[in-house]
Amino acid sequence: MLRLLKRRLIAFPIVLFGMSLMTFALTHLVPGDPARLLAGPHASAAQVAELRHQYGFDQSLPAQYATYMGDLAHGDLGMSITTRRPVTEDIAQFFPATIELTVAALLLVALIGLPLGLAAGLLKGRMPDHLIRLLSISAVSMPVFWLGIVLQIIFYEKLAILPASGRIGELSIPPAHVTGFYVLDSLFAGDFAAFGSALAHLVLPAFTLAAGSLAVITRMTRASVVETSEADHLRAARAKGLSNGLVIRRHVVRNALLPVTTVFGLQVGTLLAGSILTEVVFSWPGIGLYAVNAISNLDYTAIMGVTLLISAIYLAVNLVTDLLYLLLDPRIADAQEAMA
């Protein structure tokens, strides 16, 4: 188990390095000329050349990569040509909104997905099980962005009970920055009107983002519950006269949730990627919206920064998930070690 742990930890920085190389290669093999774009349509050739030199576009690719990595080591992701600010500054400004949205979605996934999966597993083969299965297949078959638009049409345009875009209403003043989460910060500030507005603005985007992962977790939980309920020790527990409720609480839920909790880690990547589409639909000012704007402006430094950030988080979460898995279930470690 220790050997496996060591392998994972050593692989982490190597994969991270490979990621930076790949992202760099992708964003620098493009045919467009960022200096020309930056200079605008009326710039002279000399001005374009000047900019090209200033941003280092005239150097060789390995030299550009070396410079990039050197800057990265100092926490510098380069200048965005869209906002004309350091990318790190942009990310610091937009990222809290994305985290708030992702965390809210993760909460929804846990609060709805686990009970649904448990119910489906316990009622296997009965009507609620079929219904839940159909719902979860539907949820993974929907484009995230389309679900968002349909929810906007229903809850904003037709029913007029929820806001459709932004993080907070126009009448509320964004709360002072503490955590960067409007929902929490408005509470800290004691501004309950702002809190209500921020929460209302969060509902539709969070649900939209959560839907796909919700379905995955529901199906996983169901499968895990079904598998657990058929185990021998459960038959033994029932045979010795434990009540059904007690068997479910003490044996089924505990054993079934163990593998499911670790699947959450994998969903973080899905949620972060999905947040890009969700943010576009709901004009949610996070890094997803920032990235899409960067894409339409061929702003490589920004695209690269966001790609690296999301991928690094994904990698780190997966590492932590793997380690948790090893700690929680030593059998897995043994099996993997035998295979390696």
Binding site: V15, M22, I137, S141, F145, V150, I153, G269, S311
Partner: protein, 303 residues
Amino acid sequence: MSTVAPGGGALAAPETLLNEDRDDGRNRLQVLRRLASNPLSLAGMVVLALFVIMAVAAPLIAPDDPTAFNGAAKFTAPGASHLLGTDDAGRDILSRIIYGSRYSLTAAVGILAFAATAGTAVGLVAGYVGGWVDEVLMRVTDMFLAFPALVLAMAAAAALGPSLFNAVVATAIVWWPWYARLVRGQVLQLKNEPFVAAARVAGARPGRIILRHVLRNCTTPIIVQMSLDVGYAILTMASLSFVGLGAQPPTPEWGSMISVGRDFYLNQWWYATFPGLAIFLVVMAANLVGDGLQEALAPRRAL
């Protein structure tokens, strides 16, 4: 591999006898029957077939020209004249959806064909050759898998420049590692099967062993994986088009129709709703068929 000698072709007959794992026609029919006996999979197959017919026969079915500008009919609500309404240029949305199925289905087939071919080639080589070649190929594969798929696809599509073809290439770039991993695992298992060893001893060349004995026995898992991936390929394409990286607006592609229609959701709800409904239906149908196929071919693995 040191046992390989030239002239293995002469000994082809005994190899074929030993190759017991192969699908034959009867087997395939059985799978189809099992697939059709599941009502959800059957429904999925029917819907999928309808979309394929729609794509092939689009000019015969579509009531209108999908790209002709018609200012007078702008924003007509769904009704008798236009079943699903019209868009901001007065184009019939139903006709655009019908033509749109061509882009989505071809793109999905293109992505999967490209990804499965490239991934299979890498997986075969890595698994069969082994050693440092395997190590290098698998580390490269891991690198690709370390990214969240959609994020890497977006970065790749952005780098290649926005077009439907580039979006297909970008998505395939993200997808092949899954097939490489799958095929490599299969090859490692098959490599030690008696019939492969027998072929080797009989003197078959490595190329022949790989193609005839190993690859042929990998086809079932590859097909199952492809059927499970069709839906996600369509969703990914639509997502890229939605953020402006796939098909460009006048094209009747579903994702880009939603992208434009989104601006009009306040008064023209049908504009973005119906193309999305088409995506939802076809992806759901594909997923149901994929699930059913997996269950029919590998009942133990299905959840």
